[in-house]
Amino acid sequence: MLKVLKSGFYLTIQDLGRFGYRDIGVPISGAMDIASVKKANMLLENEENDAVLEITMTGPTLLFDAPTFICLSGAHILATLNNQPIDNHQVIKVDKGDILSYGRLERGFRGYLAIKGGFQNDKVLGSRSQFVPVTKTARLKDGDEVKYKETKSFKPILSEVKIEDHFEKDTLIVFKGPEFDLLSDTQLTEIFTKTYSLSKENNRMAYQIAELIKGHEHSMLTSGTLPGTVQLTPAGRMIILMKDGQTTGGYPRIFQLSEDSINVLAQKKSGESFRFKLS
């Protein structure tokens, strides 16, 4: 068991997502920055889809009750194992009674903790990702416990890698969305020549862009949406749906973010800026 002594701002269990239930309104969920999760699972020689902890902004304090191996990735949040600093992208041996704790957030917004064999909370509808009402709880709280398998020895092929982080990027690559043609030349110029920033309204469901663009009066029948869909409200607000985002929506879908750009955006905090570039 991994015991959550302190959960930090928003700590959840995630894998790559819950597939096959979109048609009954279940979002895919899963890690916001899949690229970072895949790196950590790769170093631990896990399956790509093994469950990790997603740490948002401030890190938790965690107690291990059995030996295993871990790997951190994603945002750079100062971390220590029994008060010894540890880095991202290293396979680290953990013993019974060890305590992992986190300090200051240096870069990025979401950190990941992968564990040998993956976390073993129950799968619901094919995934371990937390999402209410599919799972009972939306996140981990102080005192919660998460199962994992004990691993006494493991000789990783690579114990450490230097990987360039993707979250310094400030360009989001977008494809034309289904309602792209509604955009006027004025709106297109606005969107592709100006810099935009992330508003305070951002969570696992959706990210709002702080700056408004020219609005519209188009009304449409509700239709499908995906993680990375950029919707434009009549008031001119761009809303980007993320992993827990609703499966249908009624606002024009002007763009679809590239999957790489979803990973980039997942690591931005409110106030950080970026540009849009049409693929």
Binding site: F19, R22, D23, G25, P133, P178, L226
Partner: protein, 244 residues
Amino acid sequence: MNTYPINIKPFGERAVLVEWPNKVSESILANILDFMDVFKELNIEGWEMSVAYNSLTMVYNQDHIDFEETKAMILDCHAKLDDSKIQRKQHLWTIPVCYDLEFGIDIEETAKTLNLSVGELIEQHTSHEYVVYGIGFLPGFMYLGGLPSSLEIPRRAEPRLRVTKGSVGLAGKQTGIYPQDSPGGWNIIGNCPVQLFNPKDKSPCFVKVGDKIRFESISKAEYNLHKIEGEVGIYKPEKVDLNA
């Protein structure tokens, strides 16, 4: 039967949007469902399809797709629609709703705005069959079509931060049930004791797109009974086979 023209648009790296004529119509919906049946016969694993009114979102959850290749495959299936004779299993579900003032917190005001008595409002809401045109927004939330125009009322000026699970609401041309606690701006006229989304069930949402719904007015006592029956898993809403 009618076969409607379709328009296929790219939707990111692994999805396409297939659009039928821009209308809410049962025959268009039937066409979409037929198309899905034909596509499923190709037996390609990894395609997820979700319907909303006149559109079908198709997502390939295994990999990125080639748009032109996918488009050709879809047009191929669409071309087969004419000669396929598909018999679908569709149901008419009777969904109980308690319109008691305890649950229908806006029912008096709504009735007043619509120039109806509360009794007339309930009578009209329960005397129609509604078509399920899509399931989305929240797990188990049904987009229902067929609301009589006498029950059309704008959304509330200020949405509520929390609408209780099971709440039945009216807004614009729509009526629907909130499957979970959620923020919302609909006018709440009652509550449905039936769980519309249950992740523990093999089929977590018993209603399917293309099914029909009718509401039945129940007392508070019946409401409480159905609620308990639902919790222990012995309550299933009444259904009849359509196109039988």
